[in-house]
């Protein structure tokens, strides 16, 4: 069971006197989406999918239209980049002589509204929350996340690399968003999932009450979308399997052979969060930055006298086991939502689903203390 940070409040289902179910769901015409985004831009910084030289990512809405709805399936760069950017200034400082003066960072007042986030990416944010709230709260991530609103959009056309249905999610899973949109042709069905979402819809005049045909269409659309995910893994017992084959050096060496240890899978993964911290000083003014880092890089664990993960197979083992063994041991959830970006974008087509479905059985293990 995923512990999410903002428990969704289920809305009451009203029954009319004839016994028919009437929900509080709304309906928005696709042509009105741009107007809706415009309304929301008053209070929020609206983020939408965009394309830059063919690379799809999340950027601030340019106020123009909602043409992204024509091509949007899922982005290459996940929405985690809004809350945990590839590079972020943590604070600045001045140095003169022997003394230093630290400049406090301006705390972000931005209220991001992510329009069109897919269920896999929304679940990924809930998974990231567990780390950034644990022990010590991360001020930079949480300042934006606490103010953020997620308007989810159910998938209609999953990729052949998607496998969300194996990981407690689906193309229509609304658990981790504030509003959930379902494509029903000319319109979107709008379901309010949290109070925040309900308040957002209450303020606009662009939505009408959803009728029964809308609900029926939505139900059909959801069923169709859910059946389109063809890639599957057996997630049950993965943690235990990895626990038992952790020491099998031969196995890990074999499957790591074609990996090139770049950072693509980790950078574009919506649940990966490892970061590096570095300082820069120019004359007497400087900044401390945090930037995306990857367990695939050898420098990640390098110490002056030794490196516990010098060999590539150890780093690959760390990546797989962190997501499917260590994170579940700590937070009771697999740190993967089946978005498939790692499979689509890997330069050598290394496929996690093939690995997970072919872990060595107990009898085949050759453990060596390594």
């Amino acid at each position: 069971m995923l512990r999410h940070y903002w428990p969704p409040t289920k809305l009451r289902i009203l029954r009319t006197s004839s016994g028919k179910k009437v929900t509080n769901n709304k309906r928005v015409n696709k042509k009105d989406v741009a107007k809706l985004l415009n309304e929301w831009s008053g209070e929020f910084t609206v983020f939408v999918p965009s394309r830059d030289e063919g690379v799809t990512k999340w950027t601030k809405w340019d106020g123009e239209g909602a043409s992204f709805l024509d091509w949007y399936r899922n982005t290459v760069v996940p929405p985690k980049a809004i809350f945990l950017p590839p590079m972020e200034e943590m604070f600045g400082f001045h140095k003169d002589g022997k003394g230093c003066r630290i400049e406090l960072p301006a705390s972000s007042k931005q209220k991001p509204l992510i329009f069109g986030i897919r269920p896999c990416d929304a679940k990924a944010l809930a998974i990231l929350d567990m780390t950034f709230k644990d022990a010590y709260e991360d001020p930079y991530y949480l300042a934006k996340r606490n103010r953020g609103v997620l308007v989810g959009l159910g998938c209609t056309n999953p990729y052949d690399s998607c496998f969300c249905t194996s990981l407690d999610s689906s193309p229509t899973d609304a658990t981790n968003v504030d509003l959930m949109l379902t494509d029903i042709g000319d319109d979107f069905l709008v379901e309010a999932i949290t109070d925040r979402g309900r308040k957002l819809m209450a303020k606009t005049s662009l939505a009408q009450a959803a009728g029964e045909t809308d609900e029926v269409r939505a139900k059909k659309a959801k069923e169709a979308a859910n059946s389109k995910v063809t890639r599957k893994i057996e997630a049950e017992g993965i943690t235990e399997k990895l626990l038992s084959c952790f020491e099998d050096k031969d196995y890990w060496e074999k499957i790591a052979a074609k990996c090139i240890s770049c950072g693509i899978c980790t950078f574009l993964c919506p649940t990966c969060y490892c970061f590096d911290i570095n300082d820069e000083l120019v004359r007497n003014r400087g900044e401390r930055f945090r930037s995306w880092d990857s367990c695939a890089f050898p420098l990640y664990t390098k110490m002056p006298m030794e490196n516990p993960r010098q060999e590539k197979w150890r780093r690959l083992r760390q990546k797989v086991c962190h997501k499917y063994e260590f994170y579940p041991l700590n937070f009771e959830v697999i740190a993967c939502t089946g978005c498939g970006r790692c499979i689509r974008l890997c330069p050598v087509n290394w496929d996690i689903t093939q690995i997970l479905d072919n872990l060595p059985a107990e009898e085949q293990l050759k453990p060596e203390k390594c």
Partner: protein
């Protein structure tokens, strides 16, 4: 094995932001060896100077602003307030820059982080400290802590060695512990020089010769990984159980609070759940990479 609760640990956040360092001024430096120096420093902020506390075994992240930050164990004892001490060996960009700083220079301080030596578990027991080289730094905090509270503990054996007499750290403390009649101080070197009249031998070998009894004892081992790897089997031969062996583990660290990911061993983070571990805990790690 869900993630452990560490909310009880006292925190000293600057402006409520865990990543912001406090500024501290270097008051004094003491050369331990040719490449190791102890820095005595104090917070600029008076209120923090009064309020700050930590436990033996905890570490801090020291910054040379503009160059970076790295983890160092606090080698002074929490029983001796007035200033903090960190002992630093020159091994890279940041540590070399730290060594270039003199009295009056300002550095950044974040901490204290990590868990600490379990004083309640050590109470009423015989303590065997086994240290090598700069590994004495985290032990030193605990040793002075224990000596300052002498009646709570039973016998104290300290077995400490370095590669050569010139590599022995904290020579002034070694002298003091040698003079202390309630402490059995055994110093050794791997290779002697002309002036050396003391023991010669590697620490694990000398430990086996001293052969402290495991009865009601706890061994605390800190030193280079190779020394630890040879010391644990000696302790096992002497009859110590894995629960009776404590050590500190080192990893590359950046955030110090279990977020940046790099210091993990399996599902635990050395910065958050360590750096003090018992050998029993280490054996139960889901990963053998420690």
């Amino acid at each position: 094995m869900a993630v452990s609760d560490i909310s009880y640990r006292p925190r000293f956040l600057a402006e409520g932001n865990v990543y912001l360092p406090h500024l501290a001024v270097i008051e004094k430096t003491v050369d331990e060896t040719h490449d190791t120096r102890t820095f005595h420093f104090n917070f600029k902020d008076e209120k923090l100077r009064e309020e700050f506390t930590f436990q033996s075994g905890q570490f801090c992240l020291l910054s040379v602003l503009g160059l970076g930050e790295a983890p160092f164990c606090i080698s002074s004892s929490p029983t001796r307030r007035g200033h903090l001490e960190c002992s630093i060996r020159q091994v890279g960009k940041l540590t070399r820059a730290l060594h270039r700083l003199g009295e009056g220079a300002e550095i950044g301080f974040r901490g204290p982080y990590g868990n600490s030596f379990p004083l309640d578990f050590l109470k009423g027991k015989n303590l065997v400290f086994v240290g090598g080289g700069i590994g004495l730094a985290p032990l030193r905090s605990l040793i002075w802590n224990v000596i300052d509270d002498r009646d709570r503990y039973q016998k104290i054996d300290i077995i400490y060695g370095a590669r050569s007499p010139a590599d022995l750290c904290f020579s002034y403390d070694l002298e003091a512990w040698d003079k202390d009649k309630t402490v059995n101080m055994v110093t050794t070197v791997g290779k002697s020089d002309d002036g050396w009249t003391g023991r010669v031998g590697l620490v694990p070998v000398v430990l086996e010769q001293v052969a402290p009894s495991p009865k009601n004892s706890v061994a605390i081992v800190c030193g280079p990984p190779i020394m630890i790897r040879f010391t644990f089997p000696v302790l096992e031969r002497l009859g110590f159980t894995p629960e009776q062996m404590l050590t500190t583990l080192e990893k590359r660290m950046k955030c110090g609070i279990g977020k940046c990911g790099r210091c993990n061993i399996g599902n635990i983070y050395v910065c958050r759940d360590g750096s003090v571990f018992s050998y029993a805990q280490i054996k139960s790690f889901v990963s053998s990479e420690y």
